[in-house]
Amino acid sequence: MPEEFEPKIVAFLCKWCSSAGSDLAGVSRMEYPPNVIPIQVMCSGSVSPLYIFSALNKGADGVLVSGCHPGDCHYIKGNMYARRRLALVKKLLEYIGLEPERFQVSWVSAAEGTKYTQIIKDLVKELKPLGPQTKLRRNP
């Protein structure tokens, strides 16, 4: 029997909320699939669209950007700029026919270990049936 497809996910987590939240998931020993590799950034506002395109280009099957809830940004409003920028990226990627599941955004606070766990579980569940992302991927 062939091995099940395991999507590769890159997650850009802001240091103060989402990264802390995912740490909390760890501290609380919640289990979630190991498909996601976190990259800690200072703020979701620092995630350039280039990072997302590049991750997909370099073979990510899915990309997650996660930051603080509106109003909770450690940098006051970085996530608000992110929200606007990422909305455009999402629309653009869907417009060129990339599966919407492949790029997702979430707000995860430092207290929401459970939410983070759930998001990763869902993400993996949604990406598995799609198979490998080849559209923007540079053939190796």
């Binding site: 669209p49 608000m80 606007r84 653009l92 026919g97 955004v105 869902d122 559209k135």
Partner: protein, 343 residues
């Protein structure tokens, strides 16, 4: 109705009075119908000026060259450059002002209103005319064009050969100018995003198939960004060169140049290039259609930028190129910006 003689008069006056460094306008094409850019310094050249429906170029692009040239000059001439603009071109100038690339004193804006019509799409025209070689084009009665070819005149309904962007233009007349010719009249546009529907209505895989076909043709001649007045960066982020190097650039800085994409025109790399370009033009593209016009392999690039123009309007109520004093689309936000896409 724009009177060409008044235009010439104004231009001549500006040059004779030494009000401007030179004037960027349109002249009769060397071959074929379509006009060319002309840079007028001497009064006697003013006679070459033309204004008709073949004046497709967005001459604002040449303000970028001018700035570069100025930067190289020892004692630059600080007089403004005169530039002839249509509605869309004027919006480009607004964005350049918005982004402080130029100041209002750098440019003397001679605005020409398209007055309910616009410029022709050369491709549509050649298709329509088959083998005939057009010599002259004029606006006819009730929204038509009258083409004069070797063997007489033909009248064609405007929407058949008008550039699609003109059919979807939000302002037929300049939004900023020092002197304006023609009336501020708008063509009535029922749906400014009509062409998008063809793609938006496709299922996801259909969208992909469409864009894959289109973008795999790209030969990366970069004419799209070269023709774009908004692509004024000295060095495009997707270039792996280190163009902005000086004597004091450290080896680290040189090494830190990122290879966001490879030089090979693979579909994946083409996509990254065009995605980056599209997102970088979000809230900046004025829909002058130059990228699409110049593309030698006919990629409908306008459809990428137009999509984000639409989203900017619908999601954030942002309209491009209307007011130089406003912040850019992505350098501001509203508390009520939509976030239904966020988990």
């Amino acid at each position: 109705m724009v009177n060409i003689d008044n235009l010439k008069e104004e231009v001549k006056k500006l040059i004779v009075d030494g009000k401007v460094k030179y004037i960027i306008g349109y002249e009769k094409g060397r071959n074929g119908l379509m006009s060319n850019p002309i840079f007028i310094r001497k009064p006697e050249d003013v006679e070459k000026l033309v204004w008709d429906h073949s004046c497709v170029y967005n001459l604002a692009k040449f303000l970028v060259d001018e700035k570069r040239r100025k930067a190289r000059e020892k004692q630059p001439d600080t007089k403004p450059v005169g530039v002839i603009v249509k509605g869309c071109d004027s919006r480009a100038i607004v964005v350049l002002l918005q982004e402080k690339f130029i100041t209002r004193n750098d440019v003397y804006i001679i605005g020409l209103s398209c007055e309910k019509t616009g410029v022709v799409d050369e491709r549509k025209l050649t298709k329509k005319l088959k083998q005939k070689i057009p010599e002259k084009i004029e606006a006819g009665e009730k929204d038509t064009f009258i083409i004069t070819a070797a063997d007489g005149k033909i009248e064609i309904p405007a929407e058949e050969i008008l550039a699609t962007r003109c059919l979807e233009c939000k302002a037929n007349f300049p939004v900023i100018y020092d002197v304006l010719f023609g009336e501020k009249t708008n063509r009535n546009v029922e749906n400014p995003y009509k062409t998008l529907e063809n793609i938006e209505s496709l299922p996801q895989e259909g969208k992909w198939k469409f864009w894959e076909e289109q973008l795999s043709r790209c030969i990366r001649c970069y004419a799209c960004r070269s023709a774009c007045p908004m692509c004024y960066c000295d060095e495009c982020v997707v270039d792996t060169i280190n163009f902005a190097v000086t004597a004091d650039t450290t080896a680290e800085e040189k090494a830190a140049k990122i290879k966001w994409l490879e030089k090979s025109p693979l579909s994946s790399e083409n996509f990254v290039y065009h995605l980056v370009r599209a997102i970088h033009l979000a809230g900046r593209c004025v829909d002058c259609g130059e990228c699409e016009r110049v593309c030698p392999v006919h990629i409908p690039l306008r459809l990428l930028n137009k999509k984000l123009e639409k989203e900017a309007k619908e999601l954030f109520g942002y309209e491009v190129g209307m007011d130089p004093s406003l912040p850019s689309l992505i350098s501001c936000f509203k508390d009520e910006d939509p976030q239904d896409f966020i988990r």
